[in-house]
């Protein structure tokens, strides 16, 4: 029974790591160098959501071992399993239901993302472009990069006209950095992890922020002056129509933080990164320990049968 109690503690690791990480993700993303933050947080989100799913499936499998013997290999001894790993049926069913719901959510998310990406790629492919740059004749201000086989940077003449020459260079370098460093992959993976585990949404948002800072940093290095990038960001943000104050405002604080980080680079701390890597490693260790333990019990039950 002590072993089972210990097992519960091990199983709780990913369930605790997710919400805890989510609470400090935004701060961690700012204190780490942006490329490191992106990679570490994405890895953390993926680890937590995968291991959480695995723990739920395992709990379900063990909880319903008596009621649905058909779902288990024939040589598993129900009696030994019940005795060694007494997961209540209610917990098993709840875990199973949750696992199905989360998997369904992730699946739906994936289908939606792929459909949207395809639609966007089709529209973007028709834009007249020189190289990978498509200029849209539009007074509205926009700039974005669309990854894919025909990756494109799309900017409006409205935005280009509001910037000086060096600022335009900063804008292009920022968008080029997104494409060159495959930033969409991190964004996609973090979003997927958050779809499979909604508690991780703050981590996905932190990854988004880190990606923008990463591109800002690359642009600052290429343009040779961080203040130019900060000016380009500010000019564009100030030229956009004002948002009504009651609307949700995570995004615009982000612009201010990005400008501040460019003008007054914060002290970088590696410590938070180490903690996130440690937490992700613990999650995997927890999953490995659980699976190994369950298999040992199954082996034991097999030897009892024979």
């Amino acid at each position: 029974m002590i072993a089972f109690g210990l097992l519960l503690v091990v199983a709780a690791i990913p369930l605790v790591a997710g919400p805890t990480g989510a609470r400090v993700a935004a701060r961690a993303a700012r204190s780490l160098p942006p490329a490191t933050a992106t990679v570490v947080l994405t890895g953390f989100a993926l680890s937590v959501s995968l291991v959480t799913g695995a723990v739920l499936c395992l709990a379900c499998l063990l909880g319903v071992v008596e009621q649905f013997p058909a779902t288990h290999p024939a040589d598993w001894s129900t009696a030994t399993l019940r005795e060694q790993l007494p997961v209540p049926i209610g917990v098993g069913l709840a875990a199973g239901g949750l696992a199905i719901a989360l998997l369904g959510r992730a699946g739906l998310h994936l289908v939606r993302v792929v459909a949207r990406a395809r639609r966007t790629a089709a529209v973007v492919a028709t834009l007249p472009a020189v190289g990978d740059l498509a200029v849209i004749d539009d007074t509205a201000l926009h700039a974005y990069s669309v990854p894919g086989r025909h990756s494109r940077i799309v900017v409006s003449t409205g935005l280009l006209r509001s910037l000086t020459g060096p600022q335009r260079g900063a804008l292009l370098a920022h968008e080029e950095a997104h494409l060159r460093h495959h930033h969409h992959r991190y964004a996609q993976l973090a979003r997927l992890a958050a779809a499979a585990n909604p508690l991780l949404s703050p981590v996905a948002r932190a990854v988004d922020g880190a990606i923008e800072r990463w591109a800002d940093t690359v642009a600052a290095r290429e343009v040779g002056d961080a203040a130019t990038v900060a000016r380009a960001l500010s000019t564009a943000a100030l030229a956009l129509p004002r948002m009504p104050p009651e609307s949700l405002g995570a995004a615009h604080h982000d612009v201010i933080d990005r400008v501040r980080d460019l003008l007054e680079p914060p002290r970088r701390q590696a410590r938070t990164g180490v903690l996130f890597v440690l937490a992700a490693t613990l999650c995997w260790a927890s999953a490995t320990a659980l699976v190994l333990y369950v298999f040992r019990v199954v082996e034991l039950s097999e030897s009892v049968v024979t």
Partner: protein
């Protein structure tokens, strides 16, 4: 992070900058005007070479002006087609295309308070477009 050489710009980015410059101007520019617009320490011959390359790719029109040529983007006068695509794209974005398919906008809208904070922030720093007096990029490596 990678070592910080002063200008590790990948090839193709100068072409993009020149296209963006001509698009912003909206009128034919001579190589000297493009060079002045771009700022920085680009050599005239580099600008001229890039313009010629873009012209040979049929991305630019050119017309004689004085002893040189003035260059203009092909199709900078938008055809109805491009305008339509632009609107479609805008609609996709407004429908909330997530960053999985579009790495979103350069920046987002501000509210009045944030705009004021941002202006204050800028007022405390020298103009980044002036020749850098204090503000070379700080080394932001992971040391």
């Amino acid at each position: 992070m990678m070592a910080g050489r002063p200008h590790p710009r990948p090839s193709g980015s100068l072409e993009n900058e020149i296209v963006a410059c001509l698009a912003a101007a909206g009128e034919p520019l001579t190589p000297a005007q493009v060079q002045a617009e771009l700022g920085g320490d680009l050599a005239y011959t580099t600008v001229l070479t890039t313009l010629t390359r873009l012209y040979s790719k049929q991305a630019l029109h050119r017309a004689p002006r004085g002893r040189t040529y003035a260059y203009q983007l092909v199709g900078s006068k938008t055809e109805a087609q491009a305008g339509l695509t632009a609107r479609q794209m805008q609609k996709l974005l407004e429908a909330g295309v997530d960053r999985a398919s579009v790495l979103s906008r350069f920046v987002d809208n501000l509210d009045e308070d944030s705009a004021r904070i941002l202006r204050d922030l800028l007022a405390h720093h020298p103009d980044g477009d002036q020749p850098p007096s204090s503000g070379r990029i700080p080394d932001r490596g992971s040391k």
